[in-house]
Symmetry: C2
Subunit: 316 residues, 2 copies
């Protein structure tokens, strides 16, 4: 697979392309959390994005980047939830079919949302190989265009609009941090960050049980034989090859956190910010709490990636 | 007690006075909830206000309306939680003491927040008479200025800034709705609404077990012998005399909802909006769901009043 990284201009184009459909999400500040960390935190609330996650940005950019002939057969993807939902919603904005391959064991609330958004679900075993095989099968049967959750130029460009918007909303920052799963958000945001402000430090947060990016960066080569084990269902994916290249090029520092640290951070976010963030999103706050000396006195943008939570299965 | 109602100019002055301290809270839209109700809903998120509730507006306006001599002895109030917390936070912005009388049985998370904000707590029995007696006692002992939770011109003016801001954010609306407890928010918002847009229909939502306002309006006189019984802890107060006069003058229509309807509405708000609202706040959404024919096709502003919830005691 050879996927080009998006440029800052492609990210700006993506921002214009998705503007009619995406929500301009608010940035929240909180004195109590600032005091706890000893930094000035700016929470970019992608949990308040359409579909409850940043994923709508990349999916929407991909769907509206297709020409009419490409679009006619619809789109297909495999996703543990939020990207599938996002692609279903994005396809609906253009009136084209969406096929979503979902692994067994995905969060029930997310699957229901994907079906409500009008997508056709295709179930498969919860392995990366099974997902990719099933998606290829659907693609061949329908002629739908594959929109990969993260190893896709259009998707990365769309996700990069998060940091573009964040910097427009709060001016310059010292650092930004996103969670890292497949690395679509992190790659897009790194490129956006340095396209606007070369001095911005870019961080990623990874669950200790899904630290393939940290390991891949340390080793200098992508690990592809690894089974993630974390409560963070949105981050149980290996970083993509093009994504890893972007993180290397932009000197992204990865901080790993335990699931216990993430759950505690999630609860703090709910209590202080009065918003619902899913467990994967809380990794960034867990990371600044864990490594607070890195951020002392700094202006830090934290991307809260999603809010799709099963209210009957809270992790505390 | 003779308390003047604020004018629209006093509400505009309040907006300017609190601007350095209060949060400009976002207005959220949601396609799924619009479809459910058949109206265009604009959720004004005062759960994202400082202290997690709209009450900071009124308290802040009261604290900064005092002259230096008045302010020196501090402020005192009685409150089931959010107003007490708000007054503590507002007093802290001016560096003056805050005394808060709290009834036994108030939500633990709220009491902890009041203490963290630096107030001195004074406990009393959970009756309105006991609260007022205790507050008078503290007032006499300390010389603190009483800032009543709702029957106070400065407080009503501060609460009215919610609708002032909402209309600035989303242009004209067909209707606005707030929950009604003591009526400070409802009175201030009615005056603000009609000061800006005479055609705006103003609604209030009241728990069926605390429907003293609906009864008082129907009877033409304020009921003062009534013990509220509702899960909505923020609305267990009788409407104030000046507040009732404002609601009558502005033809506020009160819709009553059962606690069951409110709890179901609260859960829907959490799931769809990805924000944490307390049970009292959900009365407004329960009311539009219950009386949806009243709002069909209309642009409706709903004030979500607070987000201070005990995460270990969710009502579902």
């Amino acid at each position: 697979m050879s996927v080009l990284l998006p440029t800052i201009d492609q990210i700006r184009d993506a921002a214009a392309r998705i503007a009619p459909y995406a929500t301009l999400t608010p940035v929240l500040r909180n004195d109590a959390l600032d005091a706890l960390v000893g930094a000035r935190l700016h929470f970019k609330c992608e949990n308040l994005q359409r579909g409850g996650a940043f994923k709508f940005r990349g999916a929407c950019n991909a769907v509206w980047s297709l020409n009419d002939q490409e679009a006619a057969h619809g789109v297909v993807t495999h996703s543990s939830g939020n990207h599938g939902n996002a692609l279903a919603m994005a396809a609906a904005t253009r009136g084209i079919p969406a096929h979503v391959v979902v692994p067994e064991g995905a969060v029930r609330a997310k699957l229901e949302a994907i079906e409500r958004a009008g997508a056709i679900l295709h179930r498969c075993a919860p392995t990366i190989a099974a997902r990719e095989a099933k998606a290829a099968e659907v693609q061949q049967a329908t002629g739908a265009i594959m929109v990969h959750p993260y190893a896709d130029t259009r998707v990365m460009a769309g996700q990069g609009t998060v940091v573009l918007e964040l910097l427009q909303q709060c001016g310059s920052l010292d650092a930004v941090m996103t969670p890292i799963g497949g690395g679509g958000l992190s790659a897009g945001c790194s490129i956006a960050a340095h396209g606007i402000q070369k001095t911005l430090a870019v961080y990623g947060a990874e669950p200790a049980g899904a630290d393939d990016t940290a390991q891949s960066l340390a080793r200098g080569a992508r690990i592809d034989d690894f089974t993630p084990d974390t409560i963070c269902d949105g981050l149980r994916t290996l970083v993509g090859e093009p994504n890893l290249a972007a993180l290397r090029e932009h000197h992204v520092t990865v901080i790993t956190v335990s699931d216990e640290e993430t759950i505690a951070a999630m609860r703090l976010l709910w209590q202080a910010l009065k918003i619902i963030v899913e467990v994967s999103s809380a990794t960034v706050f867990a990371a600044v709490l864990k490594e607070r000396e890195l951020f002392a006195g700094k202006r830090v943008g934290l991307v809260l990636t999603g809010g799709n939570v099963d209210l009957d299965a809270l992790p505390w």
